[in-house]
């Protein structure tokens, strides 16, 4: 799956978090799967434990299995929306990263300010074929991370960022 360019499809008129003249890239939906697995497995185990308890003692305990399942359903839906809200855009001079549904954020990092770029992938990420790119500036506050990229996308982004950063870097 190559980079998905959403020309215009994510725009809403006058939304401050979605500038008009920018083409956004979305991240892989496999990120949602990874997050759902990480969140869902413990909840399912919890529900199964409650069901086991119900089978062994009283059937009333079966109701207790409902709570984790409800939480699971809610988080399932939420994660889908959160992952869909993550986007990044490479402009001529800076990188935009946006995320969040309820609490939204939009980060701008000028290429010249990047000190280094990290690419990370945990075991689950690797199994699902996704990676996370994190940009670092000289500020500990710059929170510009793009999760859920395919390894090819991540490598390409890392190289482009490094190249553009080098072209514009001028000390601190």
């Amino acid at each position: 799956m190559g980079p998905v360019c959403q020309h215009g499809s994510m725009q809403t008129g006058g939304d401050p978090f979605v500038p008009d003249d920018v083409s956004w890239h979305r991240v892989s939906p496999r990120l949602a799967l990874a997050r759902r697995l990480a969140m869902g497995v413990p909840l399912v185990v919890l529900a199964l434990a409650a069901l086991l308890g119900a089978a062994l003692s009283s059937p009333v305990l079966a109701l207790a299995a409902l709570a984790p399942l409800l939480v699971l359903g809610w988080l399932w839906w939420l994660i889908g929306r959160q992952v869909a809200a993550i986007g990044y855009a490479e402009r001529a001079d800076d990188l935009l990263v946006r995320r969040g549904v309820m609490f939204r954020s939009l980060v701008v990092v000028p290429y010249g300010r990047m000190q280094f770029v990290d690419v990370e992938a945990g075991p689950l990420d690797r199994a699902l074929g996704i990676a996370r790119v994190q940009l670092h500036t000289a500020s500990p506050g710059s929170d510009a991370a793009i999760p859920g990229l395919t390894p090819e996308q991540a490598a390409r982004l890392r190289d482009t960022l490094a190249r553009r950063g080098e072209a514009r870097l001028a000390g601190l």
């Binding site: 401050p16 609490f103 010249g112 500020s139 506050g141 001028a170 000390g171």
Partner: protein, 479 residues
């Protein structure tokens, strides 16, 4: 010991030793800590059982002596191992007894040079030279300890090399220094009396005394003791840190001297200040006093808490408005440099006034709209941001006023944040990321669309301001 005394910069490429008294001065801490531990453990027993037996006393003494010897031996080994070398454009330091460590630093990355003199070192005329470079974590090089004159000579040499200056011989001449202002002890004490910490402490003590008198609760006073110690500790560290505060200028940059027990002489070359904050607690308002703090890359990244003292971020511990603005102008104008715009010039008196004390949209500030009152009923009028040709001003605080100043070319990155309530009201929070330090510019509840516009304009300005100043950090080149 072929070269007993450290002679800094006696020749390029020569490895130098630190001062031979170093192990003694630095090693005493181990012994002192041990004495405290033994004192705590044995002190209680002494009270209960009286004078200890002779053998017991001997054992304790033996433990102390053995630890002192071991610690001393290690300190001597560490001293024998430590070497430093000043190259044409780098400073190298080798340390480590078991694990060898060598660090080399490019001088053109230099952000600040401090000469720190801890109390005990002062008795011997010794000083620590610490060189800050901009790194992710703790990236400073500390030469501890040197003779004070050597530390100062080395400082001028390092600064001259970092500046790109050529000079005769191995040691650069001392840059002339001109004191600009001095904070008197009386003013420092009064500023601490008017500090919110003092006010809080006084309120707590009053409440406890009243509780004791009216409700016969002497426990209230006892409960207050640890808090009281904490508050006194804060005030004491502010007093010792800000004692004898002198701001001076030199061709090497701005120079700050301060400290009561441990004295610190900081040199921050031109263009190294990343961001500034002027701050005024409520009770300083009558005197119109301000404190000025700065972000300098490398400051505040020390290994332990002791190194991360807040006082290295001070530019002025307390001063009148005129004095505060004077030091701000010293930092922002980059005296002598022609390749940069004189940043301070486009800050008019009206603009400064509006930033320090103003409300609403006076002097062109972009401020919170009245609908933000729902989110911040008191502070909304003060939230504001203003952009000039070279800096961004961000102000906040009704009771404790704050004004942040960030040059465009020092902007690291920017962010726009919006929570659900802010979204309903059509406002958003504008955040500017600077390097590590006390200045964290953030303006709450701006009109969302205007804030987004500002975000993109500011990103553009950050990029273009940087490409204008074709500057590799060597501030004396091309003069």
């Amino acid at each position: 010991m072929s070269s007993p005394a450290a002679v800094p910069a006696a020749g390029e490429g020569q490895w130098q030793r630190l001062h031979p008294l170093t192990p003694f001065v630095r090693g005493w801490k181990v012994v002192a800590a041990l004495l405290v531990v033994i004192g705590q453990q044995r002190g209680g027993e002494l009270v209960r059982t009286g004078i200890p037996s002779r053998s017991e006393a001997l054992i304790t003494l033996a433990v102390i002596v053995a630890t002192a010897l071991l610690g001393g031996l290690y300190a001597v080994l560490a001293w024998r191992r430590a070497r430093y070398r000043v190259g044409a454009d780098s400073l190298q330091l080798r340390t480590g007894v078991l694990f060898r460590h060598e660090r080399a630093t490019q001088l053109d990355r230099l952000q600040a040079v401090d000469v720190v003199r801890p109390l005990l070192a002062r008795f011997f005329g010794l000083a620590e030279l610490s060189l800050e470079v901009a790194g992710g974590g703790d990236s400073s090089i500390r030469l501890s300890l040197l003779r004070e004159a050597d530390a100062q000579a080395l400082r001028s040499t390092l600064l001259a090399r970092a500046a790109g200056l050529r000079f005769e011989g191995d040691v650069a001449p001392q840059a002339p220094e001109r004191a600009v202002l001095e904070v008197s002890v009386g003013r420092l004490v009064e500023s601490l009396v008017r500090d919110p910490v003092t006010v809080l402490g006084a309120a707590l003590v009053t409440a406890a005394v009243l509780a004791t008198i009216w409700f016969h609760l002497p426990a209230a006073l006892a409960a207050l003791l640890p808090i009281g110690f904490g508050l006194v500790g804060i005030l004491w560290s502010r007093f010792t840190g800000g004692f004898g505060f002198i701001v001076a200028t030199s061709p090497d940059g701005i120079r700050l001297h301060h400290g009561l027990l441990t004295t610190r002489s900081q040199t921050v070359p031109p263009g190294r200040v990343q961001a500034l904050r002027l701050r005024q607690p409520l009770l300083w308002r009558g005197r119109d006093w301000w404190r000025v703090e700065v972000n300098v890359a490398g400051y505040g990244a020390g290994r332990n808490k002791e190194d991360r003292e807040a006082d290295e971020h001070l530019l002025l511990t307390v001063g009148t408005r005129a004095e505060a603005l004077l030091v701000v102008s010293l930092v922002l104008t980059d005296p002598g440099s022609q390749s940069r715009p004189a940043t301070y010039d486009d800050l008019s008196a009206e603009l400064i006034q509006a930033g320090l004390t103003g409300r609403g949209s006076a002097a062109g500030f972009l401020s919170s709209p009245p609908r933000a009152r729902l989110l911040d009923p008191i502070g909304w009028r003060r939230h504001g941001v203003r952009v000039t040709a070279s800096v961004l001003l961000a102000r906040r605080g009704v009771f404790r006023r704050e004004l942040d100043i960030v040059p465009h070319e020092r902007t690291q990155s920017l962010a726009l944040l919006q929570g659900p309530l802010q979204r309903r009201l059509g406002v958003a929070t504008f955040v500017l990321h600077s390097t590590r330090g006390p200045v964290t510019p953030r303006v709450q509840h701006l009109p969302a669309l205007a804030a987004a516009q500002l975000l993109h304009q500011q990103a553009e300005r950050a990029t273009s301001a940087r490409s204008d100043s074709a500057h590799d950090g060597r501030w004396m080149l091309g003069r």
